[in-house]
């Protein structure tokens, strides 16, 4: 958990913060001449919460953690360490995969929230300190237009992406064959597959969550 969660904080913070800054800069630049500059805060917050926060966090964790997991398990497999675990009557899925799975699915949503907060902070700094927006113009629309469902969407996506990353990388790692070259191939392959599955999964999740918006509104009063 420490490795996946705390270890990923710097890269997730930098990614979220810089994305928030870029979003704010573009939003303000694109919207100000149409009289919509006050929507900058809303644009940044919504985009970070429901799309960019979860996806970029998942990408960063795939590159930093998923690749490392795949390489580590792959190396253990080709050097017979996984066999040694099994030969001592220990289930490698329980010993090697389960802790990583639990850490992955619990840390991804938290990292996603952290990334979103950093993104909103980055956007706020650019909008307020660079473009001279008043803090209230940036923040005031948020309580009215950002609801629990947006936060929920981000967390659900983080959770699902966590499952995707850990499952693919552990599977590719523990089935690696072919020595050092095999480990390299498996690691590259796991990262590429993760990115593709995350992108497709994000699209499907977006559709699914948007279609269930009314249900959640009625069920939980969101």
């Amino acid at each position: 958990m420490y490795e996946i969660g705390v270890g990923s904080l710097p890269v997730v913070a930098i990614t979220g913060f810089s994305t928030g800054m870029v979003l704010a800069a573009q939003s303000f630049f694109q919207l100000s001449d149409k009289g919509l500059a006050s929507a900058t805060g809303l644009m940044v917050t919504k985009a970070m919460l429901v799309e960019l926060g979860p996806v970029l966090t998942a990408f960063m964790v795939t590159g930093r953690v998923g690749a490392a997991i795949c390489a580590e398990l792959g190396t253990m497999n080709v050097t017979e360490q996984v066999d040694a675990i099994r030969a001592m009557a220990v289930n490698p899925l329980r010993y090697l995969v389960a802790p990583r799975f639990i850490a992955g699915i619990s840390m991804l949503p938290l990292l996603t929230i952290f990334s979103c907060i950093m993104g909103i902070m980055g956007g706020y700094m650019i909008a307020v300190y660079y473009y001279g927006m008043s803090p209230s113009s940036f923040l005031d629309p948020l309580p009215d237009h950002v609801d629990n469902f947006d936060v929920f969407s981000g967390i659900v996506k983080g959770l699902v992406f966590g499952i995707i990353i850990i499952t693919i990388c552990c599977y590719r790692g523990i089935t690696t064959k072919g020595g050092a070259a095999g480990v390299g191939r498996a690691t590259t392959n796991s990262v590429v597959v993760c990115y593709i599955v995350i992108l497709i999964g994000n699209f499907l999740l977006t559709l699914g969550l948007n279609n269930s918006y009314e249900y959640f509104q009625e069920a939980f009063g969101w």
Binding site: A84, A87, M88, A89, Y95
Partner: protein, 258 residues
């Protein structure tokens, strides 16, 4: 153990008509084998004939396409390793490249089995690790990482990891491969010492004839997926078989038992 004595006893390990293929490559082709309690059987054979595959079938890391393995009369092929250890016999395997967990210290490697299966206080674990490492001559290396020790030390640490839980059956996969002659002698001595102290039944696969002579009670020749010949160490050298004789000649051991 002489042949008549062995016939009186049922084998501890009975391998019957084992077949295993990887794609088009037929590795085991109806291999049968008996190993008796307390003996060390050495399986000789050229590299790549499937000696390690046989060990993996016996310990349960792979399943055969056909055939079965019995331990004390119980077929173990369909019994998961965990259950096998509990209900049949504990087994241990020394892997060709030691297969130490490189994220753990030597001590953590050594107590891995105990930590996973037995609730033992940390102090006792350390004490048992110390004793096991002392037995293989690695006292003082407890806190070292596998990357900090030599190949021979890795093999000894891997052996300590096996002997600490006192398995009834120990499988050695090329225990002296890649080691210098002096270290090989140490490893052979350790195999004999382990047999003596644990009374374990052992199978050693190797292509190192000198090692085979030092540790084996019986020798077997694995050729083309089958056990071609099997005999006591003394008898093995007198078998008039071109394959065996050529094996000895290549290893410059012809005449050792003349």
């Amino acid at each position: 153990m002489v042949a008549q004595e062995q016939e009186k006893h049922k084998p501890m390990i009975h391998v019957h008509d084992l077949w295993k293929s990887y794609g088009p490559f037929k590795v085991l082709q109806g291999l049968s084998l008996d190993v008796f309690e307390g003996e060390t059987l050495v399986i000789l054979g050229r590299s790549g004939v499937g000696k390690s595959v046989l060990l993996k079938q016996i310990i349960g890391l792979e399943k055969p396409d056909k055939g079965f393995v019995e331990i004390n009369g119980t077929s173990i092929i369909d019994i998961p390793i965990q259950k096998r250890f509990k209900d049949v016999k504990k087994m241990g395997m020394l892997f060709q490249n030691a297969a130490l967990f490189d994220s753990m210290t030597i001590e953590e490697n050594t107590v891995f089995y105990l930590r996973q299966h037995e609730k033992i206080p940390e102090k006792e674990l350390q004490e048992r690790a110390r004793k096991a490492l002392q037995m293989v001559g690695l006292e003082g290396s407890e806190k070292k990482m596998p990357s900090e020790i030599s190949g021979g030390m890795k093999k000894r640490a891997a052996l300590a990891r096996v002997i600490i839980y006192e398995p009834a059956i120990i499988l050695y996969d090329e225990p002296t491969a890649g080691l210098d002659p002096i270290t090989s002698v140490h490893i052979n001595e350790l195999i004999n010492k382990t047999k003596e102290e644990l009374k374990a039944t052992s199978i050693v696969v190797t292509h190192d004839l000198r090692s085979a002579l030092e540790v084996g009670d019986r020798l077997a020749l694995h050729h083309e997926g089958k056990i071609e010949k099997i005999a006591s160490k003394e008898q093995f050298f007198h078998i008039e078989d071109p394959l065996i004789q050529s094996f000895f000649e290549k290893a410059s051991l012809k005449g050792v038992y003349d």
